[in-house]
Assembly symmetry: C2
Homo-oligomer: 202 residues x 2
């Protein structure tokens, strides 16, 4: 049983991207710099040490590529134990604490989930998220209703903004579940007896 120091969100983001396909540090930096994932640090001083730690941990392995006429690149691929660790992170239950701390990590997990665990796991994740949100949001609204009038206007509005975000997230969850269900339905149009009436293509 290898000891299991806590891994940061940034590190999981790196692990997830490497899980998709082998990548070099520079590729990862570019992804952080250019896409909306930029919220997780794009500084080399964070990424390269994180990759080192992952390699020491045994979750990834690197190979220096020196094709002729190309710059030397250290390409990382995920290992078996690394994939296990990654999937375990994806499978963590959705907790209220995680919702309060911000939805960043939640959405990161979801973004990786389909490729790593399949569409069914993504739907389960969304259902769990919905349960937690439905349990959490009413209390927030109640708090605003109770204490809002005694707060300064800007404080009340700031709280309202947070609530609106959660409500938006609730609507998104519903939409996402629906989207996934149609997606699954279109991939497996008939469950048991596939009556092949028209030409089926692979």
């Amino acid at each position: 049983m290898r000891e299991h120091k806590k891994i940061s969100v940034l590190t999981y983001a790196l692990l997830g991207l490497i899980h998709q396909k082998p990548r070099a540090g520079y590729d990862l930096r570019k992804i952080f710099a250019e896409t909306a994932m930029g919220s997780f640090s794009n500084s080399p001083g964070a990424i390269y040490p994180a990759l080192e730690r992952l390699e020491k941990h045994g979750a990834i392995a690197s190979e220096v590529m020196e094709s002729a006429g190309l710059r030397r690149r250290r390409v990382f691929r995920i290992t078996e134990p690394g994939e296990q660790e990654f999937k375990q992170w994806l499978s963590k239950p959705v907790t209220r604490d995680e919702i309060i701390r911000g939805t960043g990590e939640l959405m990161l997990r979801f973004a990786f989930m389909e490729q790593a665990l399949g569409a069914q796991a993504a739907i389960t994740f969304l259902r769990n998220l919905r349960v937690e949100l439905d349990a959490y949001v009413p209390g927030l609204k109640e708090y605003l209703h109770q204490h809002g009038p005694q707060m300064p206007l800007s404080g009340m509005l700031a709280l309202d903004s947070g609530i609106r975000n959660y409500e938006t997230l609730q609507r998104w969850v519903a939409y996402a579940i629906q989207t996934y269900q149609s997606f699954l339905a279109s991939r497996q149009p008939l469950s048991a007896n596939q009556i092949n009436t028209s030409g089926g293509q692979s």
Copy 2:
């Protein structure tokens, strides 16, 4: 010109709460633990050292209160330079970078703004935020439109969730501006010549 090491968001949150009124470390912890501000750490190992730093920095001053029959409390109040620093933080321009990094700090600033700088400043802040959002969000939507179809469904949905949050924020900004304007209108019903037709109460 005192050197001006960067101050963390948590530290500004503490500074803002102390600006409202003098408080002890324990009060601050409770606020973080009990209200929706909990997203900024509630551990004593973060709060007490942060308060020490603020005091060394000269932004706050402490006084140990030992009223008879009460526990000893170290109560912090904001100093003149501390208030300057705080207001300067509140007055920082709204940048796209700040929007990308997350709206947490933005909303924190806004929540403190009315009390510290007045309602007019809050409106100005909201207007600037609106400008930045209007400049930023269309690009995100365009990106989703362009690259979405080639992404895995979960990735596309995750991006969509982020966009929905920004759109929600845009609607909130509009609502908040309106709210503030009615607020100001109700406080100053007639700007120049106040014709007192009915009994006015303080």
